[in-house]
Symmetry: C2
Subunit: 248 residues, 2 copies
């Protein structure tokens, strides 16, 4: 196994960072890595906001569900879908592009562009000995987060990423069995098979939570994820995303 | 610069592959790497379909805009947003999760989950000496692609990825200047500054296309991207995505 795959497979989210800043050189390497990702039709339909102002970080941490590591880390990134810059480009060229940027296709494209860039940033950071944690919690209150980051229409913050020197590592959570996630040639849709595999995975996750070092609990995977999804969260996003010029 | 960042920065899309299959071991490493990515609330809301049936690959290549490298490669992956497996989990737990999976939040979550996994797969593949190319073109005719892959409701193919041993490498396309993509603390929205930087980037891209080895052309970045976005593509997706159980 090569060093890069080792880094990738060694991933776990880090939620406790040392009080140590990251050098500008490392931040630059992370951003450059993000920009090296593939981008649909060369559009580069995303922006990255680096939040270094501690007051802003504190506010975002509160909005994201009082997660301390959003405020206390080496660097905090927010990845955004961005058609604003492309709109400026189209004004320069006298073209009208709203129909494309407001479409479902446009939204998918920009969100995927941003996520590919973010994952490059994550791997680059981890290869430098840093830890990372994605922060979907910024979507709890995207209106307020947008105000703090002064993102205009056609720019939509999607998620944050806390980066820093790990203070402690959690154990890795076992992923779904390979043959539930990977399908050959056609989607495997045999309910009984799926159920059997999920029950087996439930046992594995129950065991993991019971015996891991930090915050032990007693829950299966199907128990956990169905409880999570039963609570319908962030329904305001349907309107907010439109208001920002996407998915109209 | 470490080996992993070197791999990331060395990325360019590969559109011509040797007629050589990829070993099962490598395919497994790629899938395992994909699964190691962060996933929102541990949901793992995506699936990966490996298309090995040449007839299916040929059909998908035709649907994706007759791109030969979709049919001729070492391996072809399709990454899907997937709430189907989570629905099975919720049935097992007697929970009702439709409101969550049909929401804008659910769609964002699943699409981002899939993209993070895909970029891990891309970097893993490149670290193994393979080349990759994302195939957004499958969204040209997602209904037909879904039929070929037999993806049920609540599973939405998002993009493909052709992987293989590179037959030829293209040059790297220069990315947008760092200070147009990266913003500190708040989104930089000075139109004059943006225009100035875009004009400078236009010169760089014009020069790149004029002097690169393959398929020279004479176009600027703003010219290219505004022409791309002026053509509103894939408008059917607004309905199709709903029909598949997302973004309702």
């Amino acid at each position: 196994m090569n060093k890069t795959i080792e880094t990738i497979l060694n991933h776990r989210s880090v939620r406790s960072f040392k009080n140590e800043t990251i050098s500008d050189e490392k931040v630059q390497q992370i951003i450059q890595s993000a920009q090296a990702a593939s981008t649909s039709s060369f559009l580069q339909a995303y922006s990255i906001i680096g939040v270094t102002d501690q007051l802003k970080k504190d506010k975002i941490a509160e909005l994201a569900g009082n997660q301390s590591y959003v405020a206390a880390n080496g660097f905090f990134f927010v990845f955004c879908a961005d058609f604003k810059r492309l709109q400026e480009a189209s004004v320069m060229q006298n073209k009208e592009i709203s129909a494309a940027t407001e479409s479902t296709e446009g939204f998918m494209l920009a969100a995927i562009d941003a996520a590919l860039a973010a994952q490059n940033a994550a791997i680059a950071a981890e290869s430098l000995g840093l830890g990372i944690c994605y922060i979907g919690g910024i979507r709890n209150h995207l209106n307020e987060v947008s105000s703090i980051l002064e993102t205009p229409e056609k720019v939509l913050p999607l998620f944050g990423m806390a980066v820093g020197y790990p203070d402690s590592y959690q154990e890795q959570k076992p992923r779904l069995p390979n043959d539930l996630v990977f399908h050959e040639n056609e989607y495997q849709n045999d309910k009984n098979q799926t159920k059997k595999k999920l029950l087996h995975y439930d046992d594995e996750i129950l065991q993991y939570y019971k015996t891991r070092m930090n915050t032990k609990k007693e829950i299966t995977w199907t128990g956990q994820v169905s409880a999570t999804l039963e609570q319908t969260k962030r329904l305001y996003l349907n309107d907010f995303v439109k208001q920002k010029g996407f998915l109209k």
